[in-house]
Amino acid sequence: MSEERVGVYVCHCGTNIAGTVDVEDVAKWAGSQENVICSRDYKFMCSSLGQELIEQDIKEQGLTRIVVAACSPHMHEKTFRGATERGGLNPFLFEMANIREHNSWATNDKAAATQKAKALVKGAVERVVHHTPLEPLPVEINPNTLVLGGGIAGISAALELANAGYHVYMVEREPSIGGHMAQLDKTFPTLDCSACILTPKMVEVGQHPNITLWSWSEVENVSGYIGNFTVNVRKKARYVNEELCTGCGICEEKCPRKVIDEVFEAGLSYRKAVYRPFPQAVPKYPVLDPANCTYFERGKCKACQILCPTGAIDFEQQDELITIQVGNIILATGYDLFDSRRIPQYGYGRLANVFTGLEFERLVNAAGPTGGKIVLRDGVTQPESVAIVHCVGSRDKHYNEYCSKVCCMYSLKFAHLVHERLPNAEVYNFYIDMRTPGKGYEEFYHRLLHEGAHFIRGRVAEVTDAARLPGEEGKLIVQAEDTLIGKQRRIPVDMVILSSGIEARQDSKEVSHLFGMGCDFDGFFVERHPKLDPVATMTEGVFIAGACQGPKDIPDSVAQGAAASARVAGLISRGTIMMEPVRAHIEAEACSGCRICNNMCPYNAIVFHEDSKVSEVITALCQGCGTCVAACPSAAITGAHFTNEQVLSEIEGLLWDVSEQLAVSA
């Protein structure tokens, strides 16, 4: 028998528990168990009176361990740890038995529920006597933050933090920040010019004294933990000396080599081998693309270098590797557009006048390849009729089951822009459901209905150029079932726009592994809680913002960026945080140096000392999963608060009734 003095408190939770479990019987029975000094039942243990009971009993009866049988520890473990601490005990000398969520709410069988409650209480009592006092681990927070991705979500996050006085490193893969938003023409539903609202923010990032911006750069490696991350950034060679370059653009103008711009112009136009993706690019320095540069191919040309007034072109430039220390990381890596070629029956890539949403954005953009003129692929003909196909790649079991959230609204915007630029053109929207949740969104839909856009409810079966009926010759025919009238319809049009959905970045899995966090089946990063904590991740110190977490429009991305930075700012201003002391520890004397645990650890928190031939857990890196503890063949590893002794005792307690039966029958 242990010398510990345990107090057991069984909560009625009104009738939530007491309605199914005979709480008085459980409390009375618990009082007769080994080590239990006092046992009570009470209406609401979480009330201040309930908590005071615990505090009082600790002081008056000299309790050394506390068990509360009530709701889930996810609900009130913190509350009762607090009460235990106020009573003068270490908060970890407490254990909770979940007799509500796991018991009274899950069954109507009162006898079985009471029996199960006793087992759960007995398990907790047996476990708690083996608890040891633990101290939370203080961790200092480095005030610098890494923001990965310079789209609108990343910009929003970086500016909030920088304006709060904290330093931000922004790393962007493309030559310029701005992300997808920089490619858009207008934004729904207000029809603000996208560039007009975005570029001032980009300039602010570029000029902010608290922001170090590295574009054309990628994160190669991340190590460390909340408060103390070490990040290796590869700054790819631009072949342009940023110190000398003034951003005058002469190199770009004089470069003889034209390349199709697949990224910014969505393949609709050309860029030079040395280029800025768009005139308002931030930073203003161009990037030289060696794969397409005549000099790198043939060893001559150097037109840019010869004509650069400041001599900034540097063909010898090498990638630069930079190591930075940051306390927190915000991932705002954005999304990829669904590749419409994956749906061959829609004809994208085969039928010339089938466009993707992003192509159309560039087409209507005043700064785009056609100067904002809506024309067919030939570059001159204006379409007289346009079909907009919703849900391309979204809400479809064969591609992505989820709704991409923005396509209905941007399709409406396209319809409006066609009406505005080509007043005589007919616009047909093929939709499954119109989804317009958002401030001013439904009103925008109504506006389009009044403008005379046609809405046909039905998923498009096929886009074809095979004419069957008179009037279809030379047109693209969109075939769909109009589900409101129950008929097949064939609509001949000149232009088809595919409202392609949002997908996670192709490399999101690798990125999530790089940062030691998870992504879901679709590749979107997983938030800590889908409702109550949508910006934090399961990895402390790593936050997510924007479409990398799931399809999102601009206001939502901005809000999430700001929210992530608020979380980071909170951590920075606190300076240190306390971490749960649930950590593994290796007893050096017992360690055989087999190194089995080294590979078990997903966080590389276990190092092997070659000199002493033993492994050691770096406490600050350890997240406390206990996988190494279970794997150690020498039982040299202890998992604090989940020791073998504690779990094995809990098992014995849980099975007190059947174990006894066994003893009787044997």
Binding site: T107, M538, G624, G626, V629, G639, E652, L654
Partner: protein, 160 residues
């Protein structure tokens, strides 16, 4: 023997997914068999095979290990390590004559309370006809003293 046998199942539920799934099942008032008694572990990867053996030895009729879905582990891939250990453990238990249904591995995310509840119901139903495990007789030997079993009576090991 009109009363059906009520098996006792010990559940090892990971803190992040399956324990929360069980919480959710309760919050959603999903009714399921009260036969599982849960132990919270931070990760299913913490489930040392000796925990399972201990539970069976102490009189449990079955053990359920539940974790996050593969790829969704809070600790990156702890559940994959659980899966590997589980496979080995099953081989061992099979050789001892412990029926496959008695030790099960379940994946349930925090939002899948219904799935976890259904798994408990299913396992309870599967264990009922098997009756008590009788660890001493089954595993330790006929009278609990580890008698040798004749070779021809040793159950064949199936492919996993």
């Amino acid at each position: 023997m009109s009363e059906p046998y009520e098996p006792v199942i010990v559940g090892f539920l990971c803190n992040w997914c399956s324990y929360r799934a069980a919480d959710l099942a309760g919050t959603a008032r999903i009714k399921y068999a009260p036969n599982m008694r849960a132990i919270r572990v931070m990760c299913s990867g913490r489930v040392d095979p000796q925990f399972v053996l201990k539970a069976l030895r102490e009189g449990a009729d079955g053990v359920m290990i539940a974790g996050c879905h593969p790829g969704e582990c809070h600790y990156v891939d702890g559940n994959i390590k659980t899966l590997r250990r589980f496979t080995l453990l099953k081989q061992l238990l099979r050789q001892w004559g412990v029926e496959d249904e008695r030790v099960q591995l379940v994946w349930a995310s925090a939002s899948e309370g219904n799935l976890l509840a259904a798994a408990v119901d299913r396992m309870t139903e599967q264990l009922r006809p098997l009756g008590p495990l009788r660890w001493k007789e089954t595993v330790l030997g006929r009278n609990g003293h580890g008698e040798f079993i004749p070779v021809e009576e040793v159950p064949a090991v199936e492919e996993v």
